[in-house]
């Protein structure tokens, strides 16, 4: 192996090692504006306290206990609130209008949540998907509540 080839291989290895770490730098999707009672963020399997001011990242789940309430505003001005005994997950949040890249997928796993559409729904209504265990909700700029009862 020539010296140049060896250097190239080493560089490729380093890039390969570095990129997963770079991919983990998820930009904030939003922030918790209201929190009371038992509330938590579930991030990569870890349960963190959901304090006012805490950032919400893509792939985070938000969970409320029997006395918990949460209110979140996302970067595109989407707003979400959770009643007690509820759980949602922000599966996808992509807000880059200048590149035409817009997506928002939220899953309501159980309980009761309110949703007020933001800029993503205004710029690209089809890029918004609210999922429940039994249905998918598409929106045309709106405000709604979703209740999910699971056995």
């Amino acid at each position: 192996m020539t010296h140049a080839l060896r250097t190239t291989c080493l560089l490729m290895l380093l890039v390969g090692l570095a990129s997963p770490a770079a991919a983990q730098q998820t930009p904030a999707a939003g922030r918790i504006k209201l929190a009371s009672g038992t509330v938590s963020i579930v991030r990569a399997g870890n349960q963190l306290p959901a304090k006012v001011g805490e950032v919400v990242l893509e792939a985070d789940a938000l969970r409320t206990g029997a006395d918990g309430r949460l209110g979140v505003t996302l970067k595109d001005e989407t707003r979400i609130s959770l009643a007690p005994n509820s759980e949602i997950r922000v599966d996808r949040f992509l807000y880059a209008p200048s590149e035409g890249r817009l997506a928002f997928t939220m899953r309501i796993l159980r309980g009761l949540a309110a949703y007020v559409s933001g800029r993503i729904a205004r710029l690209a209504p089809d890029a918004v998907r609210l999922e429940t265990p039994t249905a998918i909700v598409g929106v045309r700029g709106t405000r709604l509540v979703i209740r999910v009862d699971v056995p």
Binding site: R69, S98, A135, V137, V145, D149
Partner: protein, 208 residues
């Protein structure tokens, strides 16, 4: 386990199930979703489509609702009474954060100089920031469709930087501000390409 022990255990289970309380045929509990459409806070009315593999239902009027059981098509829409909406959902709706507030600042013709009306919005922007629990301020530059999309992203950034400077000078904490450009991709007034439109040459400040 010996064969004998196994036979005894099997017989015991059979006996217990035959003589236990008779099973009543109630349907197994399944997941259900309820979607209720609400009027916009500004007074308008949006719409929603609720669908799955089995079917689809449109909700178009205030308090239209549908229920969807697992593997069933969404039920035909029914309309909730206003009192029921308040009773069932009033509390979760009060947990929604305050609506973001948006200010539009325009630029003078062919310039990165703000109009006086634009500059005069600054005190109100700062007051709004002061009233928020966890304030966040987006300063987003926009252009019309004259020029290239890439050039307009740059131009939008330049305009946003002017407004950022103005807000900093007025005393806003720089850590709250996020500066971006949407270029020509997010117009106030939709136009064809290469159309001069002063209403699209602007910076929008959104306070969340």
């Amino acid at each position: 386990m010996t064969v004998k022990a196994f036979v005894i255990a099997a017989l015991a289970i059979l006996f217990a199930s035959a003589c236990g309380p008779r099973r009543v045929d109630t349907p197994a509990p399944v997941s259900r979703s309820l979607v209720v459409l609400l009027p916009d806070e500004g007074g308008g009315q949006g719409r929603a489509t609720v669908s799955n593999q089995s079917g689809s239902v449109d909700l178009a009027a205030e308090h239209d609702a549908t229920e969807v059981a697992m593997n069933q098509k969404p039920a035909p829409p029914r309309t909730f009474a206003k009192g029921d909406v308040n009773l069932l959902f009033g509390e979760v709706l009060t947990s929604l954060p305050a609506a973001p507030q948006r200010f539009v600042l325009y630029f003078q013709f062919d310039s990165d100089e703000l109009t006086e009306e634009g500059r005069n919005l600054v005190p109100e922007i700062l007051r709004t920031v002061g009233g928020r629990v966890v304030p966040e301020v987006d300063v987003v530059g926009h252009t019309d469709t004259t020029g290239t999309p890439q050039g307009n992203v740059q131009l939008g950034l330049k305009r946003a930087a002017v407004v950022r400077e103005l807000l900093l000078r007025a005393g806003l904490d720089s850590s709250l501000i996020d500066v971006r450009s949407h270029g020509e991709a997010d117009p106030l007034v939709r136009t064809a390409d290469n159309v001069y439109e002063p209403r699209n040459r602007r910076v929008e400040v959104a306070v969340r």
